[in-house]
C-alpha cells in the first residue's frame, strides 16, 4: 500500500471537505446577513427572530474545527512517514540491502550462464569456425576497448571470452565494446564486480548466447 498516496488523497478529501464547510459557513452567514439590517442594534434584534441561525453556525464551526483537526493529524502522519522512510514508494532509491540482493541475483544469473556453457556439448566444426570469426570481431574492438583477449570458447550455442584490462577503471570504460560486439543472432552479457585492488590488471568474462544464430532466426 502506498501510504503517502493514501495520506495525500485523504488530505485532499479532508481539505475539500474543510473548504466546503468554510464555504457553507460563509454562505450561511451571507444568507443570514442578507436578511439583516445594517445597524448592529437591528442585527441583535433580528437574531431573536432567527432562533436556529446561531445553532446552525455553531454546528458548522464545530464541523470546521473537527475537519481542521483531522486534516492536521493526516498531515503530521504523512510527514512522519516520509521522514522515517518506512512508507516510501517501492520504486524509490533502493537501500543497500536491495543492492546486495540484486547483485546476488545477477551473480546467480552469470553463474548459471557459466554452468550452462561448461555443460554444453562442443560442436567442433561450428565452434572452430565461429571462434575464428568471433576472435576477429573482438580483435577489431580490442584497442578502443582497451582489452586483451585471453580466451575464446565456443560450444554449441554459448560462447565465452576471457578479457583483461590494465585496471578496473579501464575495464569500466571499455567493457561496452565487448558487450556491443557486432555478431548477429547473439545476446551478450558482462558484469564487472568491483575488485579489492583497482589498480591491478582486471579480468572479466563476456558471455554470448547465440541460440538465435544457430537456429537461423536472425533479423
Amino acid at each position: 500500500m502506498q501510504w503517502k498516496k493514501v495520506a495525500g488523497v485523504a488530505g485532499i478529501l479532508l481539505a475539500g471537505a474543510l473548504g466546503g464547510a468554510v464555504a457553507a459557513t460563509v454562505l450561511a452567514r451571507g444568507e443570514a446577513q442578507s436578511d439583516l439590517p445594517d445597524s448592529p442594534g437591528q442585527h441583535v434584534s433580528d437574531k431573536r427572530h432567527r432562533p436556529n441561525g446561531d445553532g446552525a453556525l455553531d454546528r458548522l464551526r464545530r464541523e470546521q474545527q473537527e475537519l481542521r483537526r483531522r486534516l492536521e493529524a493526516v498531515e503530521v502522519q504523512s510527514d512522519s512517514g516520509a521522514e522515517a522512510g518506512v512508507h516510501e514508494h517501492p520504486s524509490a532509491a533502493p537501500s543497500a540491502f536491495d543492492m546486495e540482493h540484486e547483485t546476488q541475483v545477477l551473480r546467480s544469473r552469470h553463474e548459471e550462464w557459466r554452468r550452462r556453457h561448461a555443460n554444453e556439448h562442443r560442436d567442433a566444426a561450428w565452434a572452430r569456425e565461429k571462434e575464428a570469426a568471433f576472435s576477429a570481431a573482438l580483435g577489431a574492438t580490442a584497442e578502443p576497448g582497451g582489452y586483451k583477449i585471453l580466451q575464446v570458447d565456443c560450444r554449441t550455442t554459448l560462447r565465452t571470452t576471457e578479457l583483461e584490462w590494465p585496471s578496473y577503471t579501464l575495464a569500466s570504460n571499455g567493457y561496452k565494446l565487448a558487450l556491443h560486439l557486432d555478431v548477429p543472432g547473439c545476446e551478450s552479457a558482462i558484469m564487472l564486480e568491483p575488485p579489492v585492488d583497482g589498480s591491478r590488471p582486471y579480468r572479466a568474462t563476456a558471455r554470448y548466447d547465440c541460440e538465435t544464430a544457430r537456429t537461423g532466426d536472425e533479423r
Binding site: L177, L179, C186, I190, L192, R219
Partner: protein, 118 residues
C-alpha cells in the same frame, strides 16, 4: 566512433509514475520501430536493445537487428526486446545503434524510434 562508424546509445523512457504514450515501464512495450536511412551500399545499420545494470558495472544486450548489407534507403528495424522483459525491469534500458561509415551517398542516419503498448 570507430573506423568511421558511429555508435549511438539512446535511453528508453522507463517510469512507473507516468504513462508515457500508453506505456508504463519498458517491460510493457509491445512495439519498437527504429527509423532512419541507410546510405551505405554494403555495410548495414544495426540496432540492439540493451540494459545497463542499475547498481553494478555491466549490462546485457539482446539480438541485433540489421538493415541488411545490400540495403539502401529508409529502414525500419524491429529488434527483439528480450532484455527489456520483467526480469530486467529494474535496470536501465537503451538502444545501441551502429551507423556505417559515410560514403559517396552521404552519411547514414538514425531518425528516432517509436514505442507502443498493446
Amino acid at each position: 566512433m570507430s573506423g568511421g562508424t558511429y555508435d549511438l546509445a539512446c535511453g528508453v523512457n522507463d517510469s512507473n509514475l507516468f504513462d508515457i504514450g500508453g506505456v508504463q515501464g519498458k517491460q510493457n512495450i509491445s512495439t519498437l520501430n527504429i527509423h532512419g536511412e541507410d546510405r551505405h551500399s554494403s555495410a548495414s545499420v544495426t540496432a540492439t536493445p540493451c540494459i545497463s545494470y542499475f547498481h553494478i558495472t555491466g549490462g546485457e544486450c539482446g539480438s541485433t537487428a540489421s538493415s541488411g548489407g545490400g540495403f539502401l534507403g529508409q529502414y525500419t528495424l524491429q529488434p527483439s526486446r528480450v532484455k527489456w522483459g520483467p526480469t530486467f525491469s529494474g535496470h536501465f534500458g537503451y538502444i545501441h545503434i551502429k551507423l556505417p561509415a559515410q560514403t559517396g551517398n552521404g552519411a547514414s542516419t538514425f531518425s528516432g524510434y517509436f514505442v507502443g503498448a498493446p
